[in-house]
Symmetry: C2
């Protein structure tokens, strides 16, 4: 393995644009009822026309449009009632010239007809004779057999997570399962002599439970991934290298908390460099500077800062798009955003992206400060404001875009 | 049962504000790893202080702040190195007057210290003596034992779906499970003589597979609910009443497609009226006018329009907030939105909400027209534009807010 290191500090935009690992998760066939938000590995084509037959879209009478031309309240067209189409059945009658067949919304257009006139513009003044008081154009009041999707056309597209209407279309077409990318397996490796599992009932002095792993697992699930806990390793380079090798062997992406002290961070970087190429060490972002992006034997790896808040901020910006990418989705689904006015001045350093946690109240965004060691700051936030690299701060009262936490 | 009918047509805003069923889903205890987006039934309090001990937030030296006052590059303070704190362990040394103890980020502050000076502002010029070149204030370089959350304070709040940082806080506090509202069970009842199950391999003339049920199930899952298929009933009032009674007995919310023809819609309304109170029949919205909101023996019921597109538009606006409400969440999580310019004029009728499906391209919102019988219109849309009740249309080029489909 290489141990090369390419960039020492990049902007987040440079990292997102440049770090594009080729890794994709495997393809698996998944039943329709479990396809929500999954990404098709290839376009799915319609096996037959949808809806499959010309259907009325109004309650009324199937007619030949030409028979209604010129019809008005003063001078109605008179058509002979030839029969009725029953919902869900083939018509047992055709529409003759100067004839009409009663039809409910959704039923099959009978032969001979090329339009459906709405019942509101008709009257059966004499039994068996339909008076039409408004003309209808050919194609009016109906959809054609292939108007929804024609046979062989794309039913659902590759590269985009499936949404509710897509599942409806698949159901319409009778497609029972689709080949989709497997949920990317994302290994979470925690490091630190002080870190103990979250289910540790009693702590001794200096110990903390592993908060980051639980929170990261949630972000991974939101991004369509499958979190895999790879355990907690002490601040020891040998143990770390071993745990990383094991995690890399079983995952599509490895996320490792890089340790909060300088020594622990150096150990993480060394262990990663032993196993592959460090593509970038350091991001121009606060919080989150000591971030590592690497590729080890084809598996992407993110070394996150040791503080839980910093780790989550970076993973949301850099890790979430990567999880989607591994699942074959180039553009992650949109995030909720809103506009608000800053309640207070915010300081920022030119050349780095500042991520400010904010609480929203009455259209005002109140910056929440506090050390990035405190996860409660993130839990209290309604969203965050990104202060771009060129800015040296934002003034109270300025309009900002808030990325909302859903 | 009553059979009363209260309102014949309301705006969507009136319906959302006024139709507020008291039904809540049951409370169940759920393990932490499955709590994402679940709604706590009560506030969860911190069982102990978090982080639980005063911790360094920088690499450096634990000191008595007063010993550093006035220190500068020209006139450093000289402190005696009294020992080192190991990560994850109780300190075995206290900080004496004019003393310093080496400490890594995250380790326990030793007794006697009230600040941590960053290693960058120190030098060990002689073995055992630390030169400090910048003063630190009491509390600098550390977080206190209860800075994240104090014992007995709210750790996670009731009424709001749990997010990633909340799960981190629960892990920090060692909370293994939380009482949350059960996923609301939402029964989906499809009606129509023409509707057959989605897994029907071959259709006969006039039949359509049940697309709406699959798409509704996806929207229900996105809203944190549990869809329960209650089957397909023909357009027959007796069968419908029986199926509705059965669905109501086993669900927190019943959703029924009200049929697409006028006759089928009337039957649905009659069946619902037999079983409870129709609170509203008809919404001032397009598509989606023939919507029913009802309450039957304490269980809310939504009668949706028969067209799949209309049904999904109405369920997204009216049903999704109701599912969240039943789970104890008053304000649903925010939806993604963006601003765009309309590519074409859009017509609208004053007095009703018009929901326009749009495709986004280069900041332009292109309205997608087509009969509401076509689900493909919704599948192709990136989002929708709501034209409010007073407007009679929107001009091409005007800036609009697009609700994005995630």
């Amino acid at each position: 393995m290489a141990g090369r290191e390419f960039f020492t500090a990049l902007t987040v935009a440079e990292a997102l644009a440049g770090f594009r690992p080729a890794r994709r998760s495997a393809v698996e066939s998944v039943a329709r009822e479990n396809l929500l938000h999954r990404v098709p590995a290839a376009d799915v084509l319609a096996p037959h026309d949808l809806p499959g037959f010309a259907r009325a879209t109004v309650d009324g009478f199937a007619v030949r449009a030409a028979d209604t031309y010129g019809a008005s309240d003063g001078l109605p067209a008179y058509l002979e009632l030839a029969g009725t189409v029953r919902m869900g059945h083939a018509p047992d009658v055709a529409v003759p010239a100067h004839g009409a067949v009663a039809i409910p919304t959704g039923a099959v257009l009978p032969d001979g007809a090329d339009a459906v006139v709405m019942v509101e513009y008709t009257a059966e003044t004499m039994p068996g004779t339909i008076e039409v008081t408004r003309p209808v154009a050919p194609g009016g009041g109906l959809v054609r057999a292939d108007d929804d999707v024609a046979a062989g056309e794309v039913l659902v597209r590759t590269g985009r997570p499936l949404r509710a209407p897509d599942l409806g279309l698949l159901a319409s077409a009778g497609v029972g399962s689709v080949d989709v990318h497997a949920r990317p397996r994302v290994a979470i490796l925690s490091t630190g002599d002080e870190v103990v599992p979250a289910d540790t009932p009693e702590l001794t002095a200096g110990q903390v439970r592993d908060a980051t792993a639980s929170a990261l697992a949630a972000l991974i699930r939101d991004a369509g991934g499958e979190p895999v806990y790879a355990g907690i390793v002490p601040d020891d380079q040998g143990a770390l290298t071993e745990a990383l090798s094991k995690a890399l062997a079983a995952a599509d992406l490895v996320v490792v908390s890089a340790g909060s002290s300088v020594g622990a961070r150096d150990e993480t970087a060394s262990a990663v460099a032993d196993l592959g190429d460090i593509w970038c060490h350091g991001l121009a972002i606060k919080p989150g500077k000591p971030t590592i992006l690497a590729e080890c034997g084809g598996i992407p790896l993110i070394g996150l800062p040791g503080n839980p808040l910093s780790a989550l901020v970076v993973f949301r910006l850099v890790g979430v798009p990567l999880v989607w990418r591994i699942a074959g989705c180039g553009t992650p689904p949109p995030e909720p955003r809103t506009r608000a006015r800053l309640a207070r001045n915010v300081a920022s350093q030119a050349g780095r992206l500042d991520v400010i946690q904010v609480a929203l109240r009455d259209g005002m965004a109140e910056p929440l400060h506090g050390p990035s060691a405190l996860l409660s700051v993130l839990a209290r936030a309604d969203g965050c404001v990104l202060v771009p690299e060129p800015a040296t701060g934002l003034d109270a009262g300025s309009e900002v875009e808030v990325v909302l936490y859903a």
